[in-house]
């Protein structure tokens, strides 16, 4: 009895010192908690469906951020990774009979390969040339898909794919837990030494090279990692929707990823996740006014960019937290002095 209360006490202390101490962490914590507990409130299939798709697209958007937000290699054809994994998973499931827990990782590996294939020619390209080249790849693949409808199903796509689990609730937990897990992994990558080099490449690639670092290798790594995570999203999408069609390669999907990331906050990983969980359900909600849906959506995005150019999460974070001028640690905005070094906060 005594030991248990000690443990609970310690847990509470960790919770207080680690999570409650910063509002951004508190928000993140309760976001995760809420996602995990939603089925207790409602199991309405439509709501779960929207949240499952949000989770899948959150992985997808964060993977764009990992590549383009961090290394600055603007990828305007991110749907390529999504689509490659989608078709790979679908074909492996339909023709080889592999179950989803195998087709999704294999689809993601195919997307890594796609990352290499795109990454190599893109290494030499910069700015608008890189943007155009990346834009072209999904278009090329779409072309190929229409040329061999016998295998790919052409315009109709591949249907008759196994469901993720068979139960909406299990699907929900798979999607949410994978999203939270992979989001955490991506965030850890960006906070690592590799992440630092990604940052530096975005700032000044020549200077990174002159610092003795093989930027080619790191840029390819970024393409492959990004492909991996986007691929998981693509594979999950296919098994959830039970169809792999050319829409998984669409230009609109690539742009959507960019909009989600920039709306939420670029080069943060959590920003894109927030961006998707706000914009995707909002877009679904707007179906009640289909005529002006796109107009409302676009207006919202433009307004956010106008008033919060660094994205929503970065803006909110700067409002609720201040950086200590001395030790650069973040503090809740209401504090007068830094929680660690006691320097005046103003």
């Amino acid at each position: 009895m005594g030991t248990i209360s000690i443990y609970i006490g310690r847990l509470y202390k960790d919770f207080k010192g680690g999570i409650l101490v910063l509002p951004s962490r508190t928000i993140a914590f309760f976001f995760c908690l809420l996602l995990l507990l939603i089925p207790l409130i409602t199991t309405e299939p439509y709501i779960l469906r929207v949240l499952i798709l949000s989770s899948i697209f959150a992985i997808f958007a964060a993977s764009w951020d990992l590549l383009s937000g961090y290394t600055g290699q603007m990828n305007f054809g991110h749907a390529l990774f999504f689509g490659v994994a989608a078709y790979t998973s679908a074909l492996l499931n339909l023709h080889v009979g592999l179950p989803p827990w195998l087709t999704i990782p294999l689809g993601a590996l195919a997307a890594v390969l796609a990352g290499l294939i795109v990454g190599v020619p893109c290494l030499r390209l910069r700015g608008p040339y890189l943007a155009l080249a990346t834009l072209a790849f999904p278009l090329i693949l779409t072309g190929i898909i229409f040329v061999i409808p016998g295998i790919t199903g052409g315009e109709l796509g591949i249907s008759g794919i196994d469901p993720l689990s068979g139960s909406r609730l299990t699907d929900y937990y798979i999607a949410v837990i994978l999203m939270l897990g992979l989001g955490f992994v991506m965030w850890k990558i960006t906070a690592s030494k590799t992440g630092l080099i990604f940052h530096a490449i975005r700032e000044d690639e020549v200077a990174v090279r002159a610092s003795g670092i093989n930027t080619t290798r790191y840029k390819l790594l970024a393409f492959c990692l990004s492909g991996l995570f986007a691929g998981v999203a693509g594979g999950m999408y296919v098994h959830f929707m039970r169809i792999a069609g050319p829409s998984t390669l669409e230009l609109m999907l690539s742009f959507q990823a960019i909009i989600w990331v920039i709306f939420g906050g670029i080069a943060t990983i959590y920003g894109p996740i927030a961006g998707v969980f706000i914009l995707y359900p909002f877009m679904e909600f707007l179906r009640i006014i289909p005529e002006i849906r796109m107009l409302v959506f676009a207006t919202l995005v433009v307004l956010i960019l106008l008033f919060m150019p660094e994205g929503l999460t970065t803006w909110v974070r700067d409002k609720i937290e201040k950086e200590c001028p001395r030790c650069k640690l973040r503090n809740i905005a209401t504090r007068k002095s830094c929680r660690v070094c006691r320097a005046d906060l103003d």
Binding site: K193, A200, A207, R209, A210, G212, N214
Partner: protein, 255 residues
């Protein structure tokens, strides 16, 4: 067989019709500090960029410790032991200053040599300490003054633990007191040894500089550049008396 520590041979670089570096050859021994001087536009920076692999020469060779390193990628050159700084500083502006120096600390050469260093951050901190800006470590690089950016540039270069260090106008924009301090640091670096977790091989140096009075105090030898060619090569005493050098430098200004 013996070979020179560092050697460039007939190095040539053209930009369109302009020959910025024209058949340049010289050799440098292991423990020298060499000044590279010449009027603006003489091709000094271009020569440095050819050596560090940022530019590729049109013809000619660069050899380091007997090995032909012509056309190596910049990171491979650093791996061999040659690091240069940029005349126009290139900080990672939106990153903290300490992170700026952690990047070169993460290059394979630095990792191999600093295996005993537990934390990259600590080593980067010592490199900043060496150039005298460690108190600003957590600030963003964009907040640094011009002179401090020059020092950051040097901290980044020495973090790779080079055997040949190329400095492009390290005193540019520094006031006399700062120049004095930096000159002292450069001499200490050249002697070699350990500065906290930062190790110095006592690198050979090539220093491009316009502040001749300061430069002459540090260097053993001076190479003079004019229109992409070497016009003189000797001790500081010889150089200040050289007819062609006086003409290249002062002559033009008088006319």
């Amino acid at each position: 067989m013996s070979y020179p520590f560092f050697e460039v041979e007939n190095l040539t670089k053209r930009f369109g019709g302009l020959t910025a570096v024209n058949r340049v050859s010289f050799q440098i021994g292991r423990d020298e500090i060499v000044g590279l001087i010449g009027p603006n536009g003489a091709g000094k920076t271009t020569l440095l960029r050819l050596i560090t692999g940022i530019l590729r020469p049109d013809s000619g060779r660069v050899r380091f410790k007997g090995k032909d390193i012509t056309g190596f990628k910049p990171w491979a050159i650093v791996d061999q032991g040659i690091t240069g700084t940029f005349q126009i500083t290139r900080p990672f502006r939106r990153l903290p200053i300490i992170a700026n120096v952690m990047v070169p600390c993460l290059c394979p050469r630095a990792l191999k040599r600093g295996e005993w260093v537990k934390k990259i951050e600590a080593k980067a901190q010592d490199a900043l300490e060496f150039v005298g800006i460690s108190d600003m470590a957590l600030e963003k690089a964009s907040s640094l003054s011009h002179g401090d950016l020059k020092r950051l540039e040097i901290a980044k270069a020495i973090a790779t633990e080079p055997e040949l260090l190329l400095l492009d106008e390290p005193f540019g924009g520094l006031n006399p007191a700062e120049t004095e301090l930096l000159a002292k640091s450069i001499r200490r670096l050249h002697k070699g040894g350990r500065f906290g977790r930062l190790h110095s091989e006592g690198p050979t140096m090539i220093i491009i500089e316009h502040k001749l009075a300061e430069l002459m105090k540090i260097v053993d030898r001076v190479i003079v550049f004019h229109f992409g060619e070497v016009i003189a090569d000797g001790t500081p005493e010889e150089i200040v008396k050289d007819e062609r050098v006086i003409e290249a430098y002062i002559g033009k200004e008088v006319i």
